[in-house]
């Protein structure tokens, strides 16, 4: 510690106070308030009514809740593996000696800087059924038009593709930072021992990158569970609700049907789900350290 002083506690509190107040007011209070709301039947206009676990019970009978949850899982499974691998390969590329590595870092990362609505509108246009670039190319090659965003079988894949293009660069930065921390000497001695590129990758890069991989995968899963914007902009949840994800259903219940209590209960289920996944994940990943 810097300087011992009998005013430490006073100063510590004074310096912490502005943040703590905002934190209590805009994070801690809403969390507790939200939990309370979830026990009420509450639609802005009429007065609220305490119904205990009523919202949670109706949740488990709500088909749309299950399908939205399922779509969220689908999205997580569709995007996570590809985003991890793509980010890793990009990081290998920008850490290589290729002349294009600088351009690569910019090109891979730039989509991530753009806002979700720009990404959503752009890809909705690329995927447009009649005039979009992809279908025009398909027709040129003598293929029939594909309903990228209108075919229930394909819509979620299309949203996933846009997401992969949008966020892979983020994982690249994380992996790349991890790779830069591996000392050059380790690689050199391996090379002197005659190890080839793939051998080094398998026996040095990947094992030493383990902490980064563990962190990146967790962040990726959490981020994918919170998907909303791209779906909202690209498909609005359609076709036939086939891409409606959990956050969208929370949003609809709260701000279209004004079922505040029900919506809050759902938000808490999502919160719990993310918590459980994070804890289980850390238990499993932390065990064999």
């Amino acid at each position: 510690m810097a300087i011992p002083g009998n005013k430490d506690t006073r100063d510590g509190v004074l310096f912490s106070l502005p943040f703590v107040l905002i934190y209590l007011f805009l994070l801690v209070f809403p969390i507790i308030f939200g939990l309370c709301i979830s026990f009420y039947k509450w639609d802005i206009l009429s007065s609220r009514k305490f119904i205990g676990l009523g919202n949670y019970i109706s949740l488990f009978k709500d088909k749309t809740f299950y399908t939205s949850l399922w779509h969220t899982f689908q999205f997580v499974f569709m995007t996570t593996p590809i985003l991890m691998v793509a980010g890793f390969l990009m990081a290998l590329f920008v850490n290589s000696k290729s002349l294009l590595r600088g351009a690569g870092e910019n090109i891979f990362f730039i989509p991530y800087v753009l806002s979700i609505t720009v990404i959503g509108t752009l890809w909705a246009w690329l995927f447009q059924k009649n005039y979009g670039l992809f279908n025009q190319l398909f027709m040129l090659l003598g293929h029939a038009k594909v309903g990228w965003l209108t075919d229930p079988q394909k819509a979620m894949w299309s949203v996933s593709a846009a997401t992969i293009w949008w966020t892979a660069g983020f994982n690249m930065i994380l992996f790349s930072a991890g790779m830069k921390q591996i000392s050059a000497e380790v690689y050199e001695s391996a090379r002197i021992d005659g190890a080839g590129y793939f051998r080094i990758l398998k026996d040095i890069t990947i094992p030493l990158l383990r902490p980064t991989i563990v962190l990146c995968l967790l962040l990726q899963i959490i981020a994918s569970f919170k998907v909303f914007g791209q779906v909202f902009v690209m498909t609005g949840g359609g076709p036939y609700g086939k891409t409606r994800v959990l956050i969208q259903y929370i949003y609809e219940n709260g701000f279209t049907y004004f079922k505040m209590g029900y919506s809050s209960a759902m938000a808490y289920v999502l919160f719990l789900l993310i918590m459980v996944i994070s804890v289980v994940y850390y238990k499993i990943m932390g065990r064999d350290k």
């Binding site: 510690m1 810097a2 300087i3 011992p4 002083g5 005013k7 430490d8 100063d11 510590g12 310096f15 912490s16 502005p18 943040f19 905002i22 934190y23 209070f29 809403p30 969390i31 939200g34 709301i37 590329f93 294009l100 351009a103 090109i107 891979f108 730039i110 800087v113 753009l114 806002s115 979700i116 609505t117 720009v118 509108t121 752009l122 890809w123 246009w125 690329l126 009649n130 005039y131 670039l133 040129l140 293009w165 930065i173 994380l174 990146c216 962040l219 990726q220 981020a223 919170k226 909202f232 902009v233 929370i250 949003y251 701000f255 505040m260 808490y268 999502l270 919160f271 993310i274 918590m275």
Partner: protein, 269 residues
């Protein structure tokens, strides 16, 4: 030979990766009627800026850009104003409850923002703040990750500097403003940039908190744009280009800091 092949593969991947953005720019320069009939022309037959003129004149796009700028800049400044002092306290002041406070704050990083949108909305509604820019700003101020970054950095500043100032009779406030803040410049810049980008790209919360078209931020505005001008693709694309320009500029100015910041923290969403 092998090297050449790898080079070409890399080049092709990069060109394909950037292509959607090029396509965005190209579409925005096409005449509305050419968008549907002249799909493959890389250089538009009749390049035109009329979409941009239309976007500026027939929508609130300038207003939205302004709103986003206000929201992001104010968020950035206020975030620093509350994050830096507590980070300093945690790094350098030995006070009771410091450890508990640290874990209490860090726990906030685990909570998905989406969980609190309903209570936050009700809260803001009861203060009469819904549909104001303050509503878009306030919930973004508590940024635990910012504290984490600053704390790590401040811990690295040698204690001797503070001790010397103390002996010269400086108080804690003076030390904070004349020693800690100037030395912590690069960490402060990282936090500023992260909070700016967060605020600029925020979508769900401003979508909920603001319902008046003229008060939209640019992200909500562009989403709305697509709803209203659904088939006018060249106009929509010009709107998307306009919305992206500030982000591009920001990225190229602070490129290194942005990358460092993400590498340091691994924040997402």
């Amino acid at each position: 030979m092998k090297k050449k092949i790898l080079f070409i593969v890399a080049l092709v991947v990069l060109v394909l990766w950037i292509f959607p953005l090029v396509w965005l720019a190209i579409t925005s320069l096409k005449l509305e009627e050419d968008v549907l009939t002249d799909v493959f022309r890389i250089f538009p037959k009749h390049p035109t800026l009329q979409n941009y003129a239309k976007a500026f004149s027939s929508t609130y796009i300038l207003k939205w850009l302004w709103n986003s700028t206000v929201v992001s800049v104010v968020t950035m400044i206020l975030t620093l104003a509350v994050d830096a002092p507590i980070a300093y306290a945690m790094a350098k002041i030995k006070f009771r409850g410091r450890q508990i406070l640290f874990w209490f704050v860090m726990a906030g990083m685990m909570i998905p923002f989406q969980v609190i949108i309903i209570p936050l909305y009700l809260q803001f509604n009861s203060y009469g703040l819904v549909n104001t820019l303050s509503a878009a700003i306030l919930p973004r101020l508590a940024l635990p990750i910012g504290i984490f970054i600053l704390k790590q950095f401040f811990e690295g500043i040698p204690d001797e500097l503070e001790e010397a100032a103390f002996i010269d009779g400086s108080g804690r406030g003076r030390i904070f403003t004349t020693i800690i803040l100037p030395l912590g410049k690069s960490a402060l810049a990282t936090v500023m940039i992260l909070s700016f980008i967060n605020a600029w790209n925020d979508f769900l919360w401003p979508l909920i908190a603001i319902s008046d078209t003229a008060k939209y931020t640019i992200t909500v505005g562009i989403a709305n744009f697509q709803g209203v001008h659904g088939t006018d693709y060249s106009l929509i694309m010009s709107g998307a280009v306009i919305a992206s320009v500030p982000q591009f500029v920001f990225y190229f100015i602070f490129r290194k800091k942005i990358v460092e910041g993400i590498a340091m923290t691994g924040i997402k969403g």
